[in-house]
Amino acid sequence: MWDLQKYANHLAIIDDLGPKITYGEMNKISAEVMRVVDSRCLVVSLCQNSAGSIIGYVAFINNNIVPILLNAQLEIKLLINLLDTYAPKYVWLPANQADAFEEWKAVYSCYNYTLLKTSYDINYTLHDELALLLTTSGSTGSPKFVRQSYKNIKANTDSIVEYLELNETEKPITTLPMNYTYGLSIINSHLMVGATILVTDKSLMQKEFWQFFKDYEATSFGGVPYTYEMLKRLRFMRMSLPTLRTMTQAGGKLMPELHEEFALYAAENGKNFIVMYGQCEATARMGYLPAKNAVKKRGSMGIAIAGGKFTLIDMNGKSITEPFVTGELVYEGANVTLGYAECGEDLSKGDERGGILYTGDMAQFDEDGYYYIVGRKKRFLKIYGNRVNLDEIDRLIKEKFEDIDCASAGVDDHLYIFVTDETKASLVKEFVVKKTGLNQSAFNMVVVDEIPKNDAGKILYKQLEKYFLPG
């Protein structure tokens, strides 16, 4: 995937905890990993934003070893469940977490990461094109993964490099988890051009983050809508960040006012603000709003990336040709992934989509062909950039609490859970917070007399909207 030798003398990674790693060093480690692992197989990689985590990922992809990327903070019970489901040959994890698996032997270590050889004796067949497995939902531990191919990653990375005009002088700073498709796409694309990634697990709300940003002169970062709300609260626009060139935004729709505010700030300060649109099912990116139109087209997610194509279809599957008509957004391009995997056997599956993705997002285009997301076909919300499936939340609650009547609904960043039994409300909330691993302030409990249903027992979600939509 990456030509590490080409940039051998460039710094690939600066880790805020100390290590500085060149592309040449990364190439050397990659060869060492291959000597240990020997042949194509499955590895579960527990990710954090650190040098070791990224080096392992690069070594696996470059050597045709298939990683499943998970958050290193995933609850241990959920992790073991996933390990048992997919039976990887190895686990790549932070050295201080290796103790949890003392029956497995450490076969390689570098930069505070360790490779453990597992004892599973099943070897699921891996399809030749399969490169990588990524989750679609934050940290619920769902066994459903998106299957991405080498061609998918290469195609999407090349498009990103082109539309963001990336080169070796870039120094992006990490603001998103690397096991999250958007965070990973930043790593993928910058390693392709020989740039230097500033790696930190610190958050925007920490002094150390901004010190690191300034010390090493970061040139760009990415953020989900919530990131931009935090930046606004931080009075970001008054900060002096002369090295910053580009801010990108994805992971949900930014409020048009906030979009405009950041677009104006960027325009007035010689920086680029680029709103983008994507999904893990399309590797990462599908659309982007060119910086020069950021103010004029606020609220739009832009146009299809190089090599991709958007169309809208109506209820009957017919293509929409008039502007300002709502339809389901369909994307076509080489970055449309192979499909999903829900169990080990699925890893042998080939391409199930044929380059076409029905996004599940409802959209319109304007007279200039710029696209606007106006709603969703499926019942899910984006919370702090993470996809949360509402039906899955309902199912988890009903599994845990016997005989409970509940329904969840809401808007992005605000999930409302309706229950009829007041005594269970706080327990349900505690349970959902733990299951999703998201901050409790996103969850609102509402106690109602009854959950509105039709004669067939189907929940009438429309009638719940009055609790969270303005008049």
Binding site: S203, L204, M205, Q206, F209, R233, L234, N439
Partner: protein, 79 residues
């Protein structure tokens, strides 16, 4: 309500915790005090004391005690 009571309330409401957990509490020590929680905390404090905190102070506020120190030295709020 005294300043200390308002200050405590800002924490309890932002993180949904009880007062007995506040002494010595640090950023990222509990799941609810992550970056999202931090933003809620700052919003609560700004509203309670009718102030606008500076960036430096927002990112410096990394414990229950540190916040008190910042508010009294930079915003003239006495506890």
């Amino acid at each position: 309500m005294t300043n200390l009571e308002m200050y405590k309330q800002a924490f309890c409401e932002a993180f949904e915790i009880t007062e007995d957990k506040l002494a010595g509490l640090k950023y990222q020590e509990i799941p609810s005090w992550d970056s999202v929680g931090h933003m809620n905390l700052v919003a609560n404090i700004e509203e309670a004391f009718d102030i606008m905190m500076d960036t430096e102070d927002i990112i410096d506020l990394n414990s229950f005690e540190k916040g008190q120190e910042i508010l009294s030295s930079n915003y003239d709020i006495k506890f």
